[in-house]
Amino acid sequence: MKKKILIIEDDPAVVDYLTTLFEDNGYTACSAMSAQDGFELAQKERPDLITLDLELPDEWGPRFYRKLSSDKGLKNTPVIVISGLSGNKYAVSKAVASLSKPFDRDELLKIVKENID
């Protein structure tokens, strides 16, 4: 069964890029453009991994992660932070990785593979 990745990102171009990248590499992808939608989708879809932008229209990434970690079913879901902000590496301390935009697709796929394959 294909592993599922939830993309939480408000830039449609990045969402398209990530969706194509993941699907081309054997994963199923779903996406949300806000923290609220992302959380609801995470509860519904129970993804194997989440990519998280830090600056979302309704919420900041760390606050979303705090909510995620208080949900019993989602708290151990690996999160990869993908953001253009400086200092993103330290924003979510329990994220499995943090990548700065523009990111290296091979590096991202390698991190995904290490965490869910």
Binding site: G61, R66, G87, S93
Partner: protein, 304 residues
């Protein structure tokens, strides 16, 4: 809670993280934000020739130059100002800490927001183990709380909803409790009361047993209940904890573990009103290392 914010800035990259928090607070809490910049230090006495703190050049100060600097600041923060309803920009000449304290006395803000030291970066703490001197001087003398954002990662929260009050049981900590509890109550936050038992001091001369350390933890927990919880009446959204270790490390760890978006603590608590004494090292180290904004409160906050 926050109706008047004084944002003291160098209008450089070093203050970008503080700007993110300051403007977010202004927008979120419908506050007036005064962006305050000390543009230069007079070359001598009351000279109108000043050394521009940003460029390092000597300039003759006149109204045109002031307006030019204001316009530059307006442009620098354009993205944030356009989303803010109530703002102003002020510039002054003089020593930064004196001018910040001077305008704070006039404006009586609810809070002063500052960034890390100019040139501060993520690795700043390794290069220099003290906070910026302007911050130290402002935090020691300000009559209102001072919020500092040193690391970029501390600026990615957006509002306060999960507050850690770290106490050393001093008089200044009592003032910090009053402020932090009011904030938690007003903004409907989760409120964490935390004490770090300093075992480095306990163990300086001999190695204590774990029984001894746990007795101290129990005593500290009783103190938390006696001093703070007993004053919180029906407020239920709180937790309390005592961890043993190196105080600044434990406070930063606890805040990280609880996903705190604000730490409130007193500083300089073992000193009297001595203007030459440095900022308490625990508060200073927490400010340098925390992953969220830190509000520092001195013993004169709230006193007339």
């Amino acid at each position: 809670m926050f109706k008047k914010i004084l944002f003291a800035t160098s209008a450089t990259e070093a203050c970008d993280h503080a700007a993110r928090v300051a403007f977010d607070m202004a927008q979120r809490y419908n506050a007036h934000i005064d962006v305050f910049h000390v543009l230069g230090i007079p070359t001598r006495g009351y000279s109108q020739v000043v050394v521009d703190v940003t460029t390092g050049e000597e300039v003759a100060l006149d109204d045109n130059y002031r307006d030019l600097v204001k316009e530059e600041i307006r442009t620098y923060y354009d993205h944030q100002i356009e989303k803010t309803e109530n703002w102003s920009i002020d510039v002054a000449i003089g020593l930064p800490h004196r001018e910040i304290l001077r305008i704070a006395r006039l404006m009586k803000p609810d809070i002063i927001v500052m960034g890390g030291s100019t040139g501060a970066s993520g690795s700043y703490a390794h290069k220099k183990i003290v906070t910026g001197s302007t911050f130290q001087r402002v935090a020691k003398a300000a009559r209102c709380p001072v919020l500092v954002i040193n690391r970029p990662a501390a600026s990615f929260w957006g509002g306060f909803s999960n507050v850690v009050f770290a106490t050393d049981f001093s008089d200044a900590a009592a003032t910090a409790f009053d402020f932090s509890f009011k904030l938690a109550h007003t903004l409907n936050c989760e409120f964490h009361i935390f004490h770090a038992l300093d075992i480095t001091r306990i163990q300086m001369n001999n190695l204590h047993t774990q029984d001894y350390i746990e007795d101290q933890i129990r005593k500290a927990s009783q103190q938390l209940r006696f001093r703070y919880v007993s004053r919180m009446e029906n407020f239920k959204q709180y937790a309390m904890a005592v961890w043993e270790g190196i105080p600044f490390v434990e406070i930063v760890k606890y805040a990280r573990e609880k996903h705190a978006d604000l730490i409130v603590m007193a500083h300089n608590t073992h000193k009297t009103e001595d203007n030459d004494s440095p900022l308490g090292s625990v508060a200073e180290q927490v400010i340098l290392r925390a992953n969220c904004p830190v509000i520092s409160i001195n013993r004169s906050v709230g006193k007339k």
